[in-house]
Amino acid sequence: MSASQPCRLASNSGAGSQIDRDKPLSFTFNGKSYQGYAGDTLASALLANGVDVINRSFKYSRPRGVVAAGAEEPNAIVQLGASEAAQVPNVRATQQSLYDGLTARSTNGWPDAQRDMMGLVGKFGGPFMPVGFYYKTFKAPASMWRTYEKYIRKAAGLGRAPIESDPDIYDHLNRHCEVLVIGSGPAGLMSALVAAGSGVRVILCDEQPTFGGSLLDSGETIDGMAASEWASNAVERLAAMDNVTLLPRTTANGYFDHNFVTLHERRTEHLGDTAPTLDGRRQSRSRLHRVRTRHVVLASGAHERPLVYAGNDVPGNLVAGALSTYIRRYAVRPGQRLVLSTTNDHAYRAALDWQNAGGEVVAIADARANPDGELVERAKAAGIRIVTGSAVIEATADRKGHRVSGARIGAIDIEGFRVSGEVETLSCDTVATSGGYSPVVHLAAHTGVRPVWRDDILGFVPGQTASRVEGFSVVGAAAGLYPTGALLEDAVAQVVRALESDGIDAESVKIPDIETLREGSAVALYQVPHDKPTMRAPKQFVDLQNDVTAAAIELATKEGFESIEHVKRYTAMGFGTDQGKLGNINGMAIAARCLGQTIPQTGTTVFRPNYTPVNFGAIVGRHCRELFDPERYTAMHQWHIEHGAAFEDVGQWKRPWFYPQKRRDNADGEFESMHEAVMRECRAVREKVGVLDASTLGKIDIQGPDAREFLGRIYTNGWEKLAVGKARYGLMCKDDGMVMDDGVTTCLADNHFLMTTTTGGAAAILEWLEIWHQTEWPELEVYFTSVTDHWATLTLTGPEARNLLAELTDIDLDRDSFKFMEWREGAVAGVPARVYRISFTGELSFEVNVQANYAMQVWEALFAHGAKYGLTPYGTETMHVLRAEKGFIIVGQDTDGSMTPEDLGMHWCVGYNKPYPWIGKRALTRSDTRREDRKQLVGLKPLDAKVVLEEGAQIVLDPQQAIPMRMVGHVTSSYYSPTLDHGFALAVVKGGHKRMGERVYLPMPNGETHMAEVVGSIFYDPKGQRQNI
């Protein structure tokens, strides 16, 4: 063993299949530099360096070290990352591959995990912090809770979030296959081989960098080769097939309905803090595979379960199998003198490996009276002392509590839950335990399949699969099947059956030859009795991450928490980042003992995604930042940018909001304020001519002999008389009578209409038309096609609109031949166009519609000719002011899903006598819609002309009343009108249509109260003459 890595076995030991001793790597832990090798995990490298204390515990701040070797590790949690932006909180050292320059810190402990001051709080405060203590205190005085809470929050949590943005990217790959095999141990590899041989698409994933699972640690011989060699041969065969996708470093984290599985592939996390570029190109740090598969083969193996005994959290306590893993894969023997406590034969392998690696096995305490399996015989033959009917009842610690110093072993009476004989203290630095295995059933539970307890294997296995998870098999240790020969045979049979269910013949596969060891049966032991009662014994931890002890569970049950869910929630057992992979079954067993029940009576364990934590970025993939949500552009978008438009988000569209110009009166090139720009744009439209990019309006082409009938059913108003060449405004309601959309629809030909919708409503309205057509009126002959994007719409409006357009078109624009609410076809700037004389501003308007690819030609031609007419581009804000002056509503602004056409004063737009009971008609006669005091749309004129009422301001009739005030409505739209030179608003007011001339009040947060007069909703040109000039 080298001085720099005191626990690393020598290269001639033959151990260390995963490490490359030719590639030493340096890394930093808690500010101190260490060396490890390529292939190490951070945990193996720390153990190799003899680092015992890796973190401090969450509640009692006790020193903690490595317990396990994989995803189940509860203790060895670190903060990773050298730079701020690359910080990753809560990384399990057992799953983090070592890379050169890796920088890690303990997540807890002040000033650090070695010399922690908070430990004092845990040591001396601990007795006053029983389970659930926080529910019982910190209540008085009530005002102090936030202060107590501040300290509680500081003490809680593990790592910290970075406070800079992630420099890396993440992505998704959608995959489809016939067979997804999760886990590459013996059962997984065998399953993949069988499935791949049939030619179907197979994905094999494993969370480890190397495929093989338990075969990598196994001393078994398969087909005459070492198990790990057999595994690598199998992987080579799979890699050569083009129907197989191999995904190492890839964890199956979520199993969703109908065989959808999320796999998280860590592509670069073993390479550095941030993802390196490849040939100068970015690659994703990690990738989420969204897999849809015909069959899932769950080969996720089993986790070894530690025993629960006093002092079981002191560094140097490990699960037995982890010793074999560290020795065989990483050539690390994390100690000198081992005491093993077991309930089964398997764990003897760890003791034999320890001894083979040059360590001393002080004793094996076997809870069974007469263990007699072959491994037991081998241990005896190796001269190891075996103490039967016994267990480690307590691990003792050195003075600082940083390392195991000894093990107290005693004869135990399992049935009676007591220490039944003498207790002997053995000096050692390592205690390893095994209470059997827990099949990794997590994924099976994600879609609601309940695990069932099996007494014969002392573990939960996935329950019988229901028909809805057709295409789901569980193989190997995950199914509670452990002997390698038997599980290979079973895996082959299950996969063949699965393929046959799809009519696929699987090639016959030879089952490898394996020697099968004679094995003694295991005994059920979870918490080891102590010579003191549980409540008085030194702490016996069940959930190491959340500092949940056996005493806590006992107290919880005494306090009436009898459901296992209550026990878990009251104690926080299983709520850690390991989700109780090591502790849950022990906790259930302890609860069961306290309640005098069996484990299955006490409850099953249900797991939720994720199996292991996945960073948010990986789940988000590329749907972030500039790709978070589509930005929709019109054909004139670049022009708007070039002309300095400020944009408004309307749905996904970017619409010009206003176009601030450089102020003429300011030499510094300062830009107009929004108010100044809008006033200028408004004046331009009212006095000269403006142009709006209205391309975002929804447009639906409607063709068919029943198109007119359909419109009559879907709109509130009548369409039977609309002549070809004319257009009409329409209102749409839902069948509850509330307005949902509006727009102008044009009759293009007898059987042909063009409907326009609001910008935000376009997609929903098309679906609305389709649902009525497809489900209610399939007999109507009509087709709907979206042409929103096909047509660009350029709205020219203002008194000079005709003069400008006339320069560019061959259409006769004369007011008597091209009337208001009509359309014509012709060329505009040489481009074929449909021109509609409709107006949303009250001014003379022409909406020019051209195929979008030609829109810029027309737009630029307008400006080429427009200067002399004062052509001004205007945005949505000006559009809002101008339309509000005219009392034109905006659905969604002046309505909120509770307004009927009548509430809006739009009786003129309701076809009361139409023959077909159109959508929304019936609701207009319901008792609530007939109420006289419904909120109705009105205009408000502030008494102070300079005041612009706040949109959303609430309206009251009596400003003197006490709070809560009786509110009668609110302001829906409010602007300053440069034309009228005063503020004005649209509002909804209870019974408003009968309140004309009344005074109302709008109390503001600053104590001011605005006064306004209720007026009609049309403020400008009430006779509508200007649009007809």
Binding site: H176, E626, L627, D701, T785, H790, P832, N853, Y854, Q857
Partner: protein, 224 residues
């Protein structure tokens, strides 16, 4: 009086035309691109709707294309391509300027039956994606199974594309076409360039000339 208003959107004289991606420059040339992307702009796109029995013969006669009645089928011929979109909806893509003539001929051939033909040329554009890693780019972008085993040449589907939608069609061994809506085109392009970055993506803007002549059609049928 006409039952349906037909409209030829193309200028007689030819006019400046802009694709939805006109503002996007070509990617920097690189020797090792494994994905190529080019916009095939200014083609004429028509949506044809009706009952297949009624349409098939006329479609065959006018377009020389078999009307695909099998779901997800794409038929390509000299006139252009015709793709099944739904049991009563097809997408016809033909050369620039051809759409109006074909629409007229189809309407004549179909006579009084109930159908609809809608020009959507300005509303969408076509991108051709190619190269050995084109499939990976697609897997990053759509939930549809684009594995060649499940997606033979001559198949086309409408599916999710990033957070937009696209018509996705396979036209060659490593050649795919995407039909995207005009207003989403810039987003889709940005997405594709991002998704293709790690494979080296070579993007070329539309190759077509900046003016499109009007097809030789005598007069337009309009309402008066």
């Amino acid at each position: 009086m006409a039952r349906v208003a037909q409209f030829d959107p193309h200028p007689v004289q030819g006019a400046a035309t802009q694709s939805p991606l006109h503002h996007r420059a070509a990617s920097k040339p690189s020797g090792d691109s494994r994905v190529t992307l080019v916009e095939l702009a200014f083609l004429d796109h028509l949506v044809l709707r009706g009952e297949p029995q009624g349409l098939a013969a006329s479609v065959q006669a006018v377009l020389g294309l078999e009307l695909p009645v099998e779901p997800q089928r794409l038929v390509i011929g000299e006139t252009g391509s015709l793709q099944w979109l739904s049991p009563d909806e097809w997408l016809l893509i033909v050369a620039a300027g051809e759409g109006f003539r074909l629409q007229r001929e189809l309407r004549e051939a179909l006579g009084d039956s109930h159908f609809s033909i809608v020009d959507v040329s300005g509303g969408q554009t076509l991108l051709e994606l190619g190269g050995e890693r084109a499939i990976d780019v697609l897997m990053k972008s759509t939930v549809y199974d684009v594995d060649p085993r499940a997606f033979p040449i001559g198949k086309g589907v409408t599916s999710v594309f990033a957070k937009a939608t696209a018509v996705i069609r396979r036209v060659g061994e490593e050649r795919w076409e995407l039909v995207v809506r005009r207003s989403f085109a810039d987003y889709c392009l940005r997405w594709l360039l991002d998704a293709g970055e790690e494979y080296g993506i070579d993007y070329r803007p539309a190759k077509v000339a900046a003016t499109t002549p009007r097809a030789a059609v005598a007069d337009t049928e309009t309402v008066s």
